[in-house]
């Protein structure tokens, strides 16, 4: 164990910092949950790609820099330090990307990864259905083989950014007689295909970022399937692992929130409730603990290990610390917490953040489901 950064790592940090300082937009972007903000974020995604920062851990052949996970963590720290915008393509780069890297053919890698890293194609994830949320194996949307195409019919829901995104990836029932985890395939589709209808859904904050998707005999070429027909469940589980585990929520995001929370507390110290003081310290401690843990997991993976059910520990920890930190901020703001714009007209990002933090324990597999996984797979308790 050696917690010092190498000279190379320090030089890399300096390089990222310089680029971010020169390129991060001065004005905060409009939320990516709205169409105008979505397009601003796509612009930013392309700008990042122009500096070759689209996805630093990917091989150079696919628009990456071939960097290791520690360098990725350094990149993320500088990204959040600079206050750079959220990644509109996170479903693509953090979930689908690693999945294609692991399960895709060379042709699929060439076709999908580079445009993803360049921000040319923005991806949505289409797993959930009205009757298949936590119970994802209950999905019924069918993809029936017709020659060299699948014909998709059914409905998906809660698909983040699908209101505006370009492509989607999801699980479909390719064997109509199959049950549960069997007979599912992992298929990529163009959201602009004939037969796809998107119905944006207004979320808690009022903006229509995610959508219901209706498929009416949508034809998708067979070569858009990742891995074998009927092997979709295993592929999806690997993707879910990425989502809960290392990549989705980089620690820097919570360290940035904890730093802002400390500043907020200092401003309001005189009137803050006594408990707030301790909660602010707890937010800092938890964000740090999450960072150490992520560095430890990254070191473990780099040494050849892999993470399994431990990803569920991560998911619970970051989602609950995020909610607690934002709740604390709301309580410190007191009567002002309900205002959408604070003094001087600035957006009340604590309110926005608190609302978003409420979804953390729900998406990426609810925390109840994660607790089941921990109990059954890590502790070996009976189902």
């Amino acid at each position: 164990m050696d917690l010092a950064y190498t000279t190379e790592q320090q030089a890399f940090r300096a390089e990222v910092r310089a680029w971010m300082e020169a390129n991060v937009p001065q004005e905060p972007l409009v939320t990516l949950e709205r169409e105008d903000g979505y397009h601003q974020h796509v612009e930013w995604e392309r700008k990042l790609a122009s500096g070759n920062w689209g996805m630093v851990t990917w091989p150079e052949a696919y628009g990456g820099r071939g960097l290791d996970l520690i360098q990725w963590l350094i990149f993320e720290e500088e990204y959040y330090r600079a206050g750079a915008p959220l990644r509109v393509n996170q479903n693509g780069i953090f979930l689908l990307g690693p999945t294609v890297m692991e399960f895709g053919t060379d042709e699929q890698k060439a076709r999908f990864l580079t445009p993803m890293a360049k921000g040319e194609v923005i991806w949505a994830q289409a797993w959930s259905e009205p009757n298949a949320g936590s119970d994802m194996a209950a999905i019924t949307t069918k993809a029936i083989r017709d020659g060299d195409h699948y014909v998709i019919t059914g409905q998906k829901t809660w698909s983040s950014r699908a209101s505006f995104a370009d492509w989607g990836f999801g699980l479909f029932r390719t064997d109509p007689d199959s049950k549960r985890h069997k007979g599912l395939s992992f298929i990529l589709f163009d959201l602009n295909s004939p037969g796809v209808t998107r119905r944006p859904i207004r979320q808690l904050h009022g903006d229509p970022g995610f959508a219901e998707l209706f498929f009416d005999e949508v034809r998708v070429p067979v070569e858009n399937r990742i891995a074998g027909e009927g092997e979709g469940w295993n592929v999806a589980m690997a993707t879910a692992g990425f989502e809960r585990g290392l990549m989705l929520r980089s620690p820097a995001r919570f360290q940035a929130a904890a730093e802002r929370l400390v500043k907020l507390f200092r401003q309001h110290e005189a009137k803050a409730a006594p408990a707030a003081r301790e909660q602010v310290m707890q937010a800092w401690m938890d964000a740090q603990a999450y960072a150490y843990n992520t560095y430890a997991v990254a070191s473990k993976i780099m040494a050849g290990g892999h993470i399994g059910a431990e990803a569920s520990l991560n998911k619970i920890f970051w989602s609950e610390l995020d909610r607690a930190a934002h709740r604390t901020a709301m309580q410190i703001l007191g009567a002002s917490a309900e205002l959408r714009y604070l003094d001087g007209g600035a957006l009340n990002t604590w309110l926005e953040g608190y609302i978003f933090s409420l979804s953390g324990p729900i998406y990426a597999g609810s925390n109840e489901i994660q607790r089941n996984i921990i109990a059954e797979r890590l502790l070996g308790l009976p189902r």
């Binding site: 720290e77 500088e78 800092w284 740090q288 431990e310 070996g380």
Partner: protein, 337 residues
């Protein structure tokens, strides 16, 4: 930047764990509890033969010359096995402090040989553990750490932990060997590491119990309420571990920020152990409320170590000064500096 535990460390820790599981099983704790002294020359002898007192003693003085990072891994094993002999204080706290100041070769060699036992007396603790059987005492006067030979005890107090031996402090004396703060930080770190070991042991006991106890015709561990209690505790325990390692590295390197990281570690470990103890007793039902299951030994040690070497208020006050007071740089990019 590398956060991995080396293969050597894993092997050593595994070896200590297996050894203690053999010689320091719960039956031994029960036997000690039934004895007058609550201490056993045989057990100490066994631990010495395993080389445990000399882990952090430099190789030149007959020890293994390990680091504080090794020490926290071993301390967790001592917690897991519920070791009550004053091994952590002597081997994992006193030895590295004494070897750092130099000039303590004879004492270090005696520690490695299992002949010297060092009790620790610090103003943050109202009482001193194992003063009675100690050959030496580290004590504090005007912020300086003193070492002196010592024999005999004073008044024995009654701890809820049946194997803990607490005494009223005595007048400080001896030669200066460092600062009171160094003693506090080392001891708090080792207490934190023992606390996660205690928590792991309680988790294991509760999980086993949940697999074997049936109600409504099925193991209680199949009930989601029980599963979720245990899973919640696992999250707390696992996220305390890297905090302890990070603090160990900071303290080993003498980083200026080490006290903050030690306080973080102590708080995280105490929270985890405390939460785990309540979860474990709840999982055991009324059985957990008896002296007859083993759980209470671990639970009571957890209460004791949570309050010792700086309680919650003490460690929060250090975090407060650093984080809210602005002395420590925080935010992204400040994971390690």
């Amino acid at each position: 930047m590398d956060f991995t535990i080396t293969e050597d460390q894993a092997t050593l820790t595994g070896g200590v764990r297996d050894y203690l599981a053999g010689v320091h099983a719960p039956e031994l704790l029960r036997a000690l509890d039934a004895s007058d002294s609550r201490r056993s020359a045989d057990v100490w002898q066994g631990l010495t033969e395993m080389g445990l007192p000399g882990l952090l003693v430099p190789e030149a003085q007959g020890g293994l010359g390990l680091s504080l990072l090794d020490a926290v891994l071993i301390a967790a094993e001592l917690g897991r096995a519920g070791v009550a002999e004053p091994l952590a204080d002597t081997a994992l706290v006193a030895a590295p402090l004494l070897s750092k100041v130099g000039g303590q070769e004879a004492l270090l060699a005696a520690i490695a040989a299992g002949e010297a036992k060092v009790a620790l007396q610090h103003p943050v603790n109202p009482w001193v553990a194992d003063l009675d059987g100690a050959s030496h005492l580290l004590s504090v006067e005007d912020g300086a750490l003193l070492v002196a030979e010592h024999s005999g005890g004073t008044d024995l107090l009654d701890s809820v932990d049946p194997l803990r031996r607490l005494y009223v402090p005595i007048a400080p004396s001896g030669t200066a060997v460092g600062s009171a703060d160094a003693l506090l930080d080392h001891a708090a770190l080792i207490a934190a590491a023992q606390l996660v070991g205690l928590a792991d042991a309680m988790l294991e006991q509760a999980t086993d119990y949940a697999k074997n106890r049936s109600q409504f015709g099925q193991p209680i561990g199949s009930f989601q309420a029980v599963k979720h209690h245990l899973a919640t505790a696992v999250v707390k325990i696992e996220f305390a571990k890297p905090v302890i390692q990070r603090a160990a590295v900071a303290l080993q390197e003498g980083a200026a920020s080490a006290p903050v990281h030690v306080s973080h570690a102590k708080l995280a470990a105490s929270d985890a152990a405390w939460a785990m103890s309540e979860t474990a007793i709840q999982t055991h039902g009324a059985m957990g409320y008896t002296y007859e299951v083993d759980l209470h030994f671990w639970m009571k040690r957890a209460w004791a170590l949570s309050g010792a070497w700086g309680d919650r208020a003490f460690h929060l006050s250090r975090i407060d000064a650093a984080v809210l007071g602005g002395a420590l740089p925080i935010g992204p990019g400040h994971s390690f500096a």
